[in-house]
Symmetry: C2
Subunit: 342 residues, 2 copies
């Protein structure tokens, strides 16, 4: 029998805490016998909720008490200093101590990134971790990073992001050499800011399957596997995309409820529109990887529901199965030694 | 009788040149008697096309010959040096010389910006012009700038963009004090890069109706009138939005053509979906203003069709009617003198 993958869950994190994390845990355990869950948070609250869910005494569950909670708007520095027994921090400690192979948190991104970096440390050769997620595209999905961990990035850091994203895409999509593009304002060589131009130079060295500059439209077209940018641009792109999708959903709904005729049309159209929505359902894409750490940490959307949080747990399991941090580390060693030799 | 607004059109610019610009001109003249058009480009080609369109000898049309054309992928510096008789350059000259009150070009953005800046010069107090357009929102539309004219912007430049966008929104929407937001990765004061933080300080002085940081999602929600960012972020946001909208259209189409049942559903749904598409039709939003110049220059999307280009001509007419450059100039004088006094 193969051993279970143990994943620590920050039970108190996110907008909904225990009300989402535990039902998501139940969902995971019902579907997968290869995953064990280490629930981190207030023991009394967790035990009560487990009882309500009929999960008390479940063989796939362990509880690790943590007395504090990081608030969603808490400064990262404050959480680091004063929340040493938070469910977030203890969940990350579980990874550090080897009691879990990954952890998942829907808590505040800044605090999660700072704590993960402080507790786990970055891999040798990585300056800063990056947040990477997959997004739906016309032909499947596209990986994008960084999505907000780093506001200003140097060319060397963009190169590191490209390498980490490439390793993640390769591991999870089982692709040999994912196509890596650098997000820019135009495809012509002349365009873009200095950092992006310099990063393009580093990426042209041949270590990765670098396909050149890509534009905002390309994120969703499916002709690039990994889109690299700094966290400021990445976060704004991602949120702008969310905004457009919400507006489109708003207008579609409005049109179909305009009058009796459009309401009848809606009866026919809704099943089809629902099938379409399933394809780009953001919940199916929930679970961003914090890459570049000596351990696996997955960030769930703060407002994630049960299905979305369960998806983030699946992402964590996949990252563990595919041994992503180890792969990044060894890929980095090869590239760094080639550089020194060159 | 009021005098006509004269608008110079770069007939040879854009992906389709004369084939789109002249039918758009015809469309404008058929709808509006208050606009006169100065067609700039190859005289023989223009005359032939006008004849085909039955417009030869139209009282609302004048032709200004220009022997060259700026290519869509031509470097701005090359166009500036070697295309002094291009339709783009001559159209801008018409504004400079007062023969037209505005010009519209679907040509290469970089060349248009560089040429307009060189020929017309910036207004006193403006470092660099910015590109501003309106985008659909859930409650109407949102103005956004800069969209690609400036890759790196200082805090002072972001402040200038905010001022120019505010004046444009105020003039065209007839709103006293448009709500101005600064695009950032989060609404909390602590987030964002140094430039954005510094710009927030300048904007808090009270000269504008500054509402604070806004996120990518807010561009389309309708609770902010003017969204300010640097050109790199703005261009990527805009193109990412286009990408999402295209992907959604692609999936909707795919679902409705999946089988016989979905095709029947489509018969009912299509009229409703078309009504919805009209609301966010990018052609209705075509026509971006180059703000901060001593004259009005409107940039049309390079791939614009007749309806879209005609819309850009309408934007030009509105900018002239509302005297936008003069308004920006006087608003700037007030703010600059207040600063000196303070």
């Amino acid at each position: 029998m193969t051993e279970k993958i143990i994943i620590a869950l920050d039970v108190m994190g996110g907008d909904h805490g225990v009300d989402v994390v535990l039902p998501a845990a139940a969902r995971t355990l019902a579907r997968r016998s290869d995953i064990g869950l280490l629930l981190v948070g207030d023991q009394a609250i967790i035990e009560r909720s487990l009882k309500e869910l009929g999960l008390d005494g479940h063989a796939g569950i362990e509880i690790q008490h943590a007395s504090q909670r990081v608030e969603m708007d808490e400064l990262a520095s404050h959480a680091l200093r004063f929340k040493k027994d938070s469910s977030m921090r203890v969940a990350i400690n579980m990874v550090k101590e080897g009691r879990a192979q990954a952890c998942v948190s829907a808590g505040n991104t800044g605090a999660l990134m700072a704590t993960a970096r402080y507790v786990l440390k970055t891999l040798p050769g990585i300056d800063r971790p990056a947040i990477c997620t997959s997004l739906p595209s016309m032909k499947g999905h596209t990986w994008m990073l960084d999505l907000g961990a780093n506001i200003d990035s140097t060319a060397e850091q963009l190169f590191q992001f490209a390498l980490m994203g490439s390793v993640l895409a390769s591991a999870l999509d089982h692709v040999e050499a994912p196509r890596v593009g650098l997000l820019n304002v135009g495809e012509e060589e002349m365009k873009g800011n200095e950092t992006v131009k310099e990063a393009a130079g580093l990426l042209s060295s041949g270590a990765l399957n670098y396909i050149g500059f890509v534009e905002g439209t390309d994120v969703y077209c499916g002709d690039v596997d990994v889109v690299v940018c700094d966290g400021f641009v990445g976060n704004i792109s991602l949120k702008t995309s969310e905004g457009v999708a919400k507006m489109i959903a708003h207008f579609i709904k409005k049109e179909f409820t305009r009058n009796i005729f459009t309401r009848i049309a809606a009866l026919f159209a809704l099943p089809v529109l629902k099938a379409f929505r399933r394809q780009i359902d953001p919940r199916r894409y929930n679970g961003a990887s914090l890459l570049g750490l000596r351990g696996s940490v997955i960030k769930s959307h703060g407002g994630a529901d049960v299905l979305a949080f369960a998806n983030a747990i699946d992402v964590a399991a996949e990252v563990v199965e595919q041994n992503v941090p180890e792969r990044i580390k060894s890929r980095l060693q090869v590239i760094l030694s080639e550089r020194q030799a060159g």
